[in-house]
């Protein structure tokens, strides 16, 4: 566990970057520092590996003051990832990744083997090992940055806006892979971002920093959204707070309707009364939407509108399902299982009827399940 004990940092110019900050970053979990620009997030992060020395207060790792260790030694045991990756342009990718092993005097063969192993881990092809950073895209460079931080298998990782310099699609990809990695590795991670969505997605705990280096609230994402401590936090979370809360509502308890689902081989005769029909193949994979009025003979010849986004029942949140419903031509969200087979559909109103934090409204039709 990383513990901040009344940490204050006043820079020579007089700027107070941290004002009496006390908080815990639990072992094996992701703690996200989020907040306004200049709020002191980077300063707090860098106090952990002594890139910044606090004016007063202490930072402890598992109860031990970080100042007990020489800075270089301390830092070799803490992974460090920064915004623009900060790769060494004169070193190949594998040598960049093997930086800390080299510093720890591993032999070259072992260090390079480790680098290749990590390239696999972070989703980089081995063919890139001998390339130089300028030959990689921003997203790839960021992966190398993460791999470099992981090279000596440090128990702690400090990450300062590691994914902010890439486009939203790549960012989402990097975030997903990051979460998958963390599932395997269980590092103690401090992650800085100013993107509240990223904080909610990644954080086990979120600490909200405000101007002047004060921590406004430390809480789980769910609690932060449901009960912001003050107007600043509420304002920071933004107007989409309600929708964001749905990120924590599971779709496992939804009762999905099978009424509109028809196999492509079905008879077109019994479609009366339905507005839209979801046509599926023999494995129940969705083929597209159609309306009974458009069907001449059999379903296989019907003109189909694209299925659009689907959600995975159980693993995706209600927010994802709602998104799917809004984008669906029929207004119905399509729930699929892990194999991609259709489980059923749900209307937007059904989704909103799912209880979040035990205060959901009663549903219409095939709505809410019971609280688990």
């Amino acid at each position: 566990m990383i513990t901040f004990e009344g940490v204050t940092k006043r820079y020579p110019g007089g700027a107070v970057a941290l004002d009496d900050v006390s908080l815990d970053c639990p072992t094996g979990e992701i703690t996200v520092f989020v907040g306004t620009s200049g709020g002191g997030k980077t300063t707090a992060l860098r106090a952990v590996n002594r890139m910044v020395e606090p004016t007063s207060g202490r930072v402890l790792i598992d109860g031990r003051d970080v100042r007990e260790q020489r800075p270089a030694e301390l830092r070799r045991g803490i992974g460090y990832v920064i915004q623009h990756a900060g790769l060494f342009p004169h070193r190949t990718i594998e040598d960049n990744i093997a930086t800390v092993p080299y510093l720890l005097r591993w032999n070259k063969k072992k260090a390079r083997a480790r680098a290749l192993e990590l390239m696999e881990r972070v989703g980089l092809d081995h063919s890139m090992a001998k390339r130089y950073p300028f030959q990689l895209s921003g997203g790839q460079q960021q992966r190398v940055g993460v791999a470099r931080a992981l090279a000596a298998d440090p128990p702690i990782m400090l990450m300062d806006e590691p994914f902010s310099a890439v486009d939203p699609v790549v960012r989402a990809e990097l975030q997903d892979e990051f979460l998958r990695l963390q599932d395997e590795l269980h590092k103690t991670i401090v992650f800085v971002t100013h993107d509240i969505d990223e904080a909610i997605k990644l954080g086990d705990t979120i600490a909200v920093f405000r101007t002047g280096g004060k921590v406004a609230q430390v809480d789980t994402p769910e609690n932060l959204l449901a009960h912001p401590a003050d107007d600043f936090v509420a304002g920071f979370i933004g107007q989409n707070r309600g929708i964001r809360t749905l990120s924590f509502a599971g779709t496992g308890e939804l009762r999905l309707s099978d009424d509109a689902v028809r196999p492509v081989t079905a008879d077109a005769a019994d479609l009366t009364g339905l507005d839209w029909i979801l046509v599926v193949d023999e494995d129940r994979r969705p083929l597209g939407w159609t309306r009974p009025a458009q069907i001449g003979g059999s379903l296989s010849e019907a003109p189909l509108a694209p299925v659009g986004p689907t959600f995975r029942v159980g693993s995706d949140s209600v927010r994802v399902a709602l998104d799917a419903a809004v984008l669906s031509p029929s207004g119905l969200a399509v729930g699929v299982d892990d194999a991609g087979a259709v489980v059923g559909t749900a209307a937007g109103s059904d989704l909103l009827a799912v209880p979040t934090h035990g205060n959901g409204a009663g549903g219409t039709g095939h709505g809410a399940g019971s609280d688990g």
Binding site: N49, M51, P71, A72, E73, L74, R75, R76, G77, Y80, I82, Q83, H84, A85, G86, L87, F88, P89, H90, R91, T92, T99, V100, L103, Y132, P133, F134, Q135, G145, R148, A149
Partner: protein, 228 residues
């Protein structure tokens, strides 16, 4: 046009005459002297320029002082310095001192700028992964500054090779001997011949540095659009 051709032909005859290639007044001996003076001066200048440039660039301190000193050194007319110092101490040392003073500024300034210009993110990362101060200098700043450092060394080397001709003025030989003698005697064949030799030497220096650049500068720095 004819005149020029004549001169070239005459110089060629001079250069290829077998008598020029033997004895203490022969080209090999003079060339060796010239290379020796240039090499020693450049080596001293490199030690001074690199040490000060790396130090100032790495610590971020003394940069202004270093650059100012370098510019002042640049402003001193080398020829005047040689004359002045030779009056005090009649030996080759003043000549070498003058050449060193000439060679330090480009090395110092380029080294300083090279180190200072290293990507701050890379520097931050180098510290952040646990390199010591020397480690950052040796493993990050120096290799990343190499293209500029080599440029500084090359500039100095060529200046030194061209200027080492002044060693002949107080009578210490080198390729300058031919030029000075030629001028004194009105023997332009000698002047052009000596000049050609100096220029050839400068070209060789240029080639050596081109090779060195390939050898020691990481392809990761050459391939990108970074300043080099």
């Amino acid at each position: 046009m004819n005149e020029l051709w004549n001169q070239i032909e005459l110089s060629w005859t001079w250069l290829t005459a077998s008598s020029q290639w033997h004895g203490p007044d022969g080209i090999p001996h003079r060339l060796l002297q010239h290379v020796w003076y240039s090499g020693v001066s450049l080596l001293c200048a490199a030690v001074i320029g690199l040490a000060l440039g790396l130090l100032a660039g790495h610590t971020g301190r003394g940069g202004f002082l270093a650059i100012t000193l370098a510019n002042v050194a640049r402003a001193i007319p080398t020829f005047g310095l040689v004359l002045f110092v030779v009056v005090i101490d009649y030996s080759i040392t003043p000549v070498l001192v003058a050449l060193v003073a000439l060679a330090v500024p480009p090395i110092l300034v380029n080294t300083f700028e090279g180190v200072r210009g290293v990507d701050p993110d890379a520097k931050d990362a180098a510290r952040g992964v646990g390199m010591t101060g020397w480690g950052v200098l040796w493993h990050a700043e120096l290799p990343m500054a190499l293209p500029l450092i080599l440029l500084g060394l090359r500039t100095s080397a060529i200046q030194v090779v061209a200027t080492a001709t002044i060693a002949a003025y107080p009578g210490f030989g080198g390729l300058g001997r031919y030029i000075i003698d030629g001028l004194a005697r009105g023997d332009y064949q000698l002047v052009v011949g000596g000049t050609v030799l100096v220029v050839a030497l400068a070209l060789i220096v240029q080639l050596i540095f081109a090779g060195l650049r390939r050898l020691v500068v990481s392809p990761g720095l050459l391939g990108s659009a970074r300043p080099s």
